[in-house]
Amino acid sequence: MGQLIPLDSFGVTERDLVGALGRVKVRDVDYADLYFESCISESVSMEESLVKRATKSISQGVGVRATAGEKTGFAYSDELTKKDLELAADTARYIASSPVGTQPVPAPVHARPSRDLYPVSQGQVEVATADRVTLLNQIDAEARRYDPRIKNVMASFNTEYKVIMVATSDGTLIGDVQPLSRLQVTCIAEEQGNRQIGSFGGGGRIGFEFYRERNRYLDYAREAARIAILNLSAVDAPAGVMPVVLGGGWPGILLHEAIGHGLEADFNRKKTSAFSTLLGKRVASDVCTIVDDGTLPGRRGSLNMDDEGTSTSRTTLIEKGILRGYITDKLNARLMGIPVTGNGRRESYQSIVLPRMTNTFMLAGQSAPEDIIKSVRKGLYAVSFGGGQVDITNGKFVFSASEAYLIEDGKITKPVKGATLIGSGPEILTKVSMVGHDLKLDEGIGTCGKEGQSVPVGVGLPTIRIDEITVGGTQAG
């Protein structure tokens, strides 16, 4: 079970809550909630072998929201007094412009999430700055020891400790404590004027000890160094249509961009997604089953509850190639008449709730990864990516490889640089002909942006073969 967040941690009383909710939930408001948040985030970073930057930020506030039909009214404040709550309530209800309701708002039942996916104490997150400094110094030494061509190492360790509490007009009062941390290493390698970059990192809703277990932090350092050194000998990427094999783990960003965003309920309710008319239809080959799962312990994209107090769940998006469902928040689920999946998320009290992904991944298939590579005569093997982006409406997405190789006659040969993949969301998975048995989740570094809001997410993928996709390199094939 998750923790019960005491009301006084936000300095408010039950009376204040009921008062503000009653004020906002006028007759024509369907639903209202108050979202309280306090967040402490800290960062320590190193470059040029010096741990020279430390930052800490403290924020606290409340967001008040009312929905009426398709309308959302929203206001927020960084003051939590009764007066500020009332002022925010008056703004939020402006969209309804209706008289007060006849039904009083029920007194909230104080609840806690039914599970605890990240039992991490504040002490495990807020470790002494000196310990973080030591960790970063050892990373620097390890990366430089890997190869003398490593000329600069940049590393940062970020933590966040967020406490949230949601009071709803349907009588729920529930909170959660959400720790989050991430360790990121970037190396620059240089040889005869050729400079290349390599990055690696990991994290999750975990404590500081995670990074020290089996010297994970040193693995991160060596991986970042390895990729930078590898890219020194990389050749320019080919251009044109070809088969592409994606490695397991982080390449799951393909699912996030190509499929996931297009299945967020808001775009489908508004019928602006390329997937709006495809529910129950084939959008992938029958070896593809894709889920969004917020219930995995300790993962970066996991949550005990979403930011509307709904328990997160595992939602099947595509089952054996058939589009099965959307990911929803309360507003869009109500308007579309479909289940609430626990995907209502917001960056902070200053932002509105949107349906967002948690951990999105493809389930394992039957093929051996080595057979998948052997099956390609001439193509690309991509094992790590930078970022990706999608145009929801026409379905076109791109993502850029940060570690990739040529496949020639079934064998992995030269490393390539500067490869971008571009395709169409509703089509790309119909071209997946082989799915490996090696499902891997990413290391815990993903951040997803939508309407200017950033939230932590996870992705995962087994090794897969895509029969054809456009690779945007500089070398004619």
Partner: protein, 458 residues
């Protein structure tokens, strides 16, 4: 340290609050410090299909503190201005600073370099728009888009935002600066549907101004958004080949943004920029000149002083194709043995970094149409997606959309293609610069033609 001192926090007293926090920092062991206080209010409305979809209103404030204990430094921020909270913040910041290592080049700018005058750059408009007025403006813009063409059948909405705020910066040299600014913006995103295939295309158009009176009519923005969405219908892929590429204002602006990031002192001293070691060298043809002007009246990137309290100015970044200056703050300048260029940008909770003010490519004489006329077989890019840019090497490969040019005319829309090259080569290959410079953001460019890039499609 005393925690009994009371701090008056009311409108207009932020300079006093900054002085109080600086005094507390000094008592806490700081040898130097600076404080940023920012507050603001925002009203944003979104209309979709003629009805209010979203309405949001907020006021916020934040205080950021950076302390130096000798050459060790830390930065913190909070939204809680109570005396207890600020006392705690000061103590924690000093403790944090003592935990990191000495960094010999860290520190405030020299006292004698602080900005001496703070000109009024015409950044603030006191016009407060009523909620219903903003709703009406957004409705008019969307309605104009929906009425423009029968193929516009859906909409992601129209947004009208207004915001205003103020920034106060003070440091232990005794510098205190303050300015207000405002902004008004309108954006419309219509969706066009192909009547035959049912395929959808979305596009958007927008305007941002510091003064409400400068805003064009909402109808003009809606009509342009609709024109852009409809013209994408029927887009197809093209064959993979090497061709001339014309970038429109928006996408050329993104190339200039890449130049701006590469010229940032922080990327340079880390060796993380393809412009490392290029100062004084020929970067582009002699008709390429780029300025960064922090003093443009009413400019979206203008400010009287930078994030460290140094005067902003007009810097020449590229002159006749030669890289003349990087963008620097005090720290990155010292790392490179150069003086700050007045480009410190400061988000409240972070130590300064470098950012552009009004960064632009000086226009040429040819209209976009005349530039397109010079291309026999090539690409006109109007949209770029993805993050395929390696700033260390300049390698560039991004998803693109736009129009295929045949014999000097836009022939048909294209999508699901990539364009690839290397930024260093692309800047050398700038063949023509358009006459159409319009300041629509902090980084702007007229249309440009690049001699040749690899386009990947079928």
């Amino acid at each position: 340290m005393s925690s009994s001192r009371s701090i008056q926090v009311s409108n207009g007293s932020y300079t006093h609050l900054a002085a109080e926090v600086l005094a507390m920092a000094k008592r806490g062991g700081a040898t130097e410090a600076d404080v940023v206080i920012a507050d603001g209010e925002n009203l944003s409305v979104q209309i979709r299909l003629g009805a209010v979809d979203r309405l949001s209103k907020a006021r916020e404030k934040r205080l950021g503190l950076r302390v130096f204990v000798g050459t060790r430094s830390a930065t913190t921020s909070t939204s809680d201005f109570s005396p207890e909270s600020l006392n705690r913040l000061v103590t924690e910041t000093c403790t944090l600073a003592k935990a990191v290592v000495e960094d010999p080049v860290s520190g405030l700018p020299s006292a004698e370099h602080m900005a001496k005058e703070q000109p009024d750059l015409d950044l603030y408009d006191e016009t407060k728009l009523e909620t219903d007025k903003q709703i009406d403006l957004a409705k008019r813009a969307e309605a104009a888009a929906m009425a423009m063409d029968e193929r516009i059948t859906n909409s992601e909405g129209a947004d009208f935002d207004s915001s205003s705020g103020r920034v106060v910066l003070g440091n232990s040299h005794g510098f205190v600066g303050e300015y207000r600014s405002s902004s008004y913006s309108l954006a419309v995103s219509p969706v066009a549907v192909d009547p035959v295939s049912g395929a959808m295309q979305r596009d958007a158009w927008y305007e941002v101004q510091r003064k409400f009176s400068k805003m064009g009519t909402p109808e003009s923005i809606g009509i342009e958004a609709a024109r852009r969405a409809v013209r994408r219908l029927g887009a197809r892929k093209v064959a993979t080949k090497r061709v001339p590429v014309v970038f429109d204002q928006e996408t050329a602006g993104s190339l200039l943004g890449n130049l701006c990031s590469a010229a940032s002192g922080y990327s340079l001293y880390k060796g993380a920029s393809f412009l490392t070691g290029q100062l004084g060298k020929q970067l582009a043809p002699e008709y390429v000149t780029v300025y960064d002007d922090g003093r443009m009246l009413g400019g979206l990137g203008s400010r009287p002083f930078d994030g460290e309290g140094l005067s902003t100015r007009k810097n020449t970044i590229v002159e006749q194709g030669i890289l003349k200056s990087y963008l620097l703050d005090t720290y990155s300048g010292r790392k490179l043995g150069l003086a700050s260029t007045g480009n410190a940008s400061r988000s409240v909770g972070e130590s300064p970094s470098v950012g552009p003010t009004n960064f632009y490519l000086v226009p040429g004489t040819k209209s976009p149409e005349d530039i397109i006329k010079t291309v026999k077989d090539g690409l006109y890019v109007t949209e770029l997606i993805g993050f395929g840019i390696n700033m260390v090497t300049g390698d560039y490969s991004r998803g693109a959309g736009g129009f295929w040019i045949e014999n000097g005319e836009l022939a048909y829309p294209v999508e699901e293609i990539t364009i690839a090259g290397n930024l260093k080569q692309m800047f050398k290959d700038i063949e023509i610069i358009g006459s159409d410079l319009v300041f629509r953001g902090r980084i702007t460019s007229p249309t440009i033609k690049i001699a040749e890039m690899m386009v990947a499609g079928n």
